[in-house]
Symmetry: C2
Subunit: 339 residues, 2 copies
């Protein structure tokens, strides 16, 4: 009653395994009659190809790996949904792993995925990732790789990102246009390119508007506890800069921590201090005041990254050359109550 094989169908029907295989895969060189006979029996026996054997034979697993730094918050969930949407179209399965922002976890997971011989890997780097040997392993292994969101420019592969610098620039510019002058930036960890770029965008917007950059207005959020980082730093920033009138946060979660603190001590948002987030996560609609933020379209990013990956997998399969793409997904400002 279990594990029907081509062989069983073949012997039961008195034909060869080859014929069964061909019939089931709709090869042209099988007569209608035998083909139907075979298909009928296969249906009846509930035949499904043994994917292990198919994998071995075709050297494909029809599976990709997705390594996310974290899976809790809105953005990466959306990315995952986007990836899934593309994967489903192609009957691909997705193995999901989370590095927890740790370099050594990331290394181990790449190894696991490579040993599993997934057809391709999609990943966003951990905050700790400052060396790239393990990533180059993927490339040496000839496994297609697409990096997204937290990438490293040094790695030679396709990438899907937003223009973090421009988005941050726009956010801060928007703040300045509204009359804010003393604008703090709660930045992310030092490694990831997007954290750096957002910082640079902040700085550039100040410069372009003749506001002197003041490094004491930059606070670091790198405990992977975004919400608390925001809360704690807001406390400190308010104490250190009584005339602070706006904060541009690296991410919504940090911004929400800020909002929480300001609410707790009854500092009016945005009247006294404006708060600008980054991500447009679900939660930004839920808090009071609602968060003004940058929309970072996770679903789109995941979808695009996956689509590129599948294209590369296809090219590789056909021994065609692959030329890497670097895609920039558009972001936009979502104006709500907090700024």
């Amino acid at each position: 009653m279990k594990d029907v094989t081509l062989k069983q169908i073949a012997t039961q029907l008195g034909v060869s395994i080859t014929t069964v295989s061909k019939a089931l895969k709709n090869y042209p060189d099988v007569s209608e009659k035998t083909k139907n006979k075979i298909i009928d029996l296969a249906d009846k026996l509930n035949y499904t190809p043994n994917s292990f054997a198919v994998n071995l034979r075709t050297r494909q697993s029809k599976t990709i790996g997705l390594i996310l730094p974290t899976v809790d918050y809105n953005f990466f969930s959306k990315v995952f949904e986007g990836v899934l949407a593309e994967a489903e179209k192609r009957d691909y399965l997705v193995i999901l792993l989370r590095s927890n922002e740790k370099l050594d976890v990331e290394k181990k997971q790449i190894e696991l995925l490579l040993n599993k011989r997934v057809d391709g890997i999609l990943m966003s780097l951990s905050n700790e990732t400052g060396e790239f040997e393990h990533i180059k392993n993927i490339i040496n292994n000839k496994t297609p790789l697409v990096l997204f969101d937290k990438i490293a420019k040094l790695i030679n592969c396709s990438k899907v990102v937003i223009n973090d610098r421009k988005a941050a620039y726009n956010a801060v510019h928007n703040l300045i246009k509204k009359g804010h002058k003393k604008i703090a930036h709660f930045r992310g960890s030092l490694m990831p390119q997007n954290s750096i770029d957002r910082f640079l965008g902040y700085k550039k917007a100040l410069e372009d508007n003749n506001i002197m950059y003041d490094s004491s207005l930059v606070y670091l959020c790198d405990n992977n506890t975004d919400f608390e980082d925001g809360y704690r730093n807001a406390q400190q920033a308010v104490a250190e800069h009584p005339d602070l009138d706006a904060i541009f946060a690296i991410t919504d979660l940090v911004a929400i921590g800020i909002v929480k603190y300001l609410n707790d001590v009854n500092i009016e948002i945005p009247k006294k201090i404006a708060v600008f987030g980054f991500c447009n996560s679900f939660m930004s609609e839920v808090i009071s005041p609602k968060l003004t933020t940058i929309d970072q379209p996770g679903y789109k990013i995941g979808k695009k990254a996956a689509s590129i990956l599948f294209d590369e997998i296809e090219l590789k399969k056909n021994n065609k050359p692959i030329s890497f793409q670097s895609i920039e997904i558009e972001t936009s400002i979502i104006e709500r109550g907090s700024a």
Copy 2:
């Protein structure tokens, strides 16, 4: 430079494939000398077993499937983390799928997973799932299955749940103790057992405290848009029942929608209306007032479910009989500002 096989190592060293295989797997019947020789070369060539071949031979994929109804919110992310924790211990990989609360998606995904020949399946039912043929397929297939959170009692397999009825009872009892008398329940979809159980817990708590059950105080949230469901129903409930003094919500997200609405129309929480959530998601700490809720330990649930699944996989492998377990994970009341 790629895809080193046992054969290559064997010919290069002038030994048989068998010996290489044995040496690499630390069989006792290989001399130290040859063993070392083989291990050294394997290391040097960076040999990794071809998992496709291993799968085919051992009939194991070292992979499990996890089907979640949705992946956005806190609870299921936590479940996933718990599953991952157990999987890592055993060098298992996890294929993650989300049914999106749709029965037909769920069916298709089970098929995919079964065709992929995963070693086991972990799942939480979609809200639409009221028939179980597709689930029974898993069992007929002899693939170990553990259901968690949204389960169906009719399915004969191991289960990991919380006592939804008791938890809901405690929540409502807590509300009554605090003097609330007109308590609405914003319930979930009709299918899932946990939705039913929470409703029953609510009803029972009323009865035990001599409060007449009033079906007009029960509102349905089944649009899979929990937050908006909460908001909209709160609006309606307040309009229909001016003397409403508490709401027990099926889930935090619904509760947050309620809080949002009450804040918007300046109804004091919990003074005028108390709000009780369910889940203890991250967000319940973020809103104002903070949410009083039931802690539903997702990480623990995922971990336990996975651990049972791996045990069953092991038993099956050794042809030992499996006896199904039904585990109840403890919940607790988290008192915060909203009730």
